[in-house]
């Protein structure tokens, strides 16, 4: 499985990847720290799942998902963000996000989300 993590914080990229690893074991990790890098990484690596932060330096995670939808991206995407408001949640779900977790996303929260979307049996 290939997972792309998008966050402008190196710390959160490391923590999120580490917590996902605790849940699903080995997988291929790709990282991007802004929207442009994320869009390029999707094109280059075609990940099975994208884990997005909401606030990024050049565009929001919602903008990235919207652009990916326009490009015909049909894999799974979800959010891990400290800004899980009703409004952001509704927008993310309308764009096809499969989960929206609060930061820090613990292995327990990731397990539940991944079970719900079928990544984890």
């Amino acid at each position: 499985m290939k997972i792309l993590f998008v966050d402008d914080s190196k710390t959160m990229l490391k923590i999120n990847a580490s917590n996902v690893k605790k849940v699903i074991g080995d997988f291929e990790v790709f990282k991007a720290s802004n929207g442009a890098e994320a869009l390029a990484a999707v094109k280059e690596h075609t990940p099975d799942l994208i884990v997005l932060d909401l606030v990024l330096p050049d565009m929001t995670g919602l903008d990235i998902l919207e652009q990916l939808n326009k490009l015909g991206f049909n894999k799974m995407a979800g959010f891990i963000s400290s800004m899980k408001t009703n409004e952001n949640y509704q927008k993310a779900m309308a764009l096809g996000a499969k989960f929206f977790l609060d930061k820090p996303a613990t292995p327990e929260a990731i397990t539940k989300a991944f079970r719900d979307i079928g990544v984890l049996k």
């Binding site: 710390t11 800004m83 408001t85």
Partner: protein, 159 residues
Amino acid sequence: MTPQLTKWMSVLQDCFRDCLTSMSEVKKIQPGTVSSDPIKSMCGPIIQVKVGANSCLQIGLHSDPQTQQFLGKLIEEDDPDDFLPDSDSSDAVGEILNIFVGQFVRTVFIKSDEQAVLTTPIFIYGQLDLPAILEFCSQEVQIDDHKVSIFIGILKVKQ
């Protein structure tokens, strides 16, 4: 100090404790002194929270550089004897602030009609000048042998 600011500081402290305990093995977090004197010299990240059109808060986490290192290594699960580059420790401490301020906003403004918008964390090392400050509160917190100050300022917004 107004009751509202006292309450907000209490919520901030709870959010900070929740954030650290969920991200690390830290056990001992104790509150210290409270002050209404603005912090003049700063080492740490700040975030601004704009609430609606007329209100702006500034929330930060101030400590000495050694404590920033300690916090960075704590949440990155690094060996305490390793050296964490300053860019990594400031990124880590900025993320701690981002997480607990996000939780604070969800707790305090969830029923508010006004939308609260956070900036990304900015790391400040040096003088902190807050000329437009209306009210200020800082709370010292001891984590093991290290001390950090959580602070919140209510800023005057230009109408």
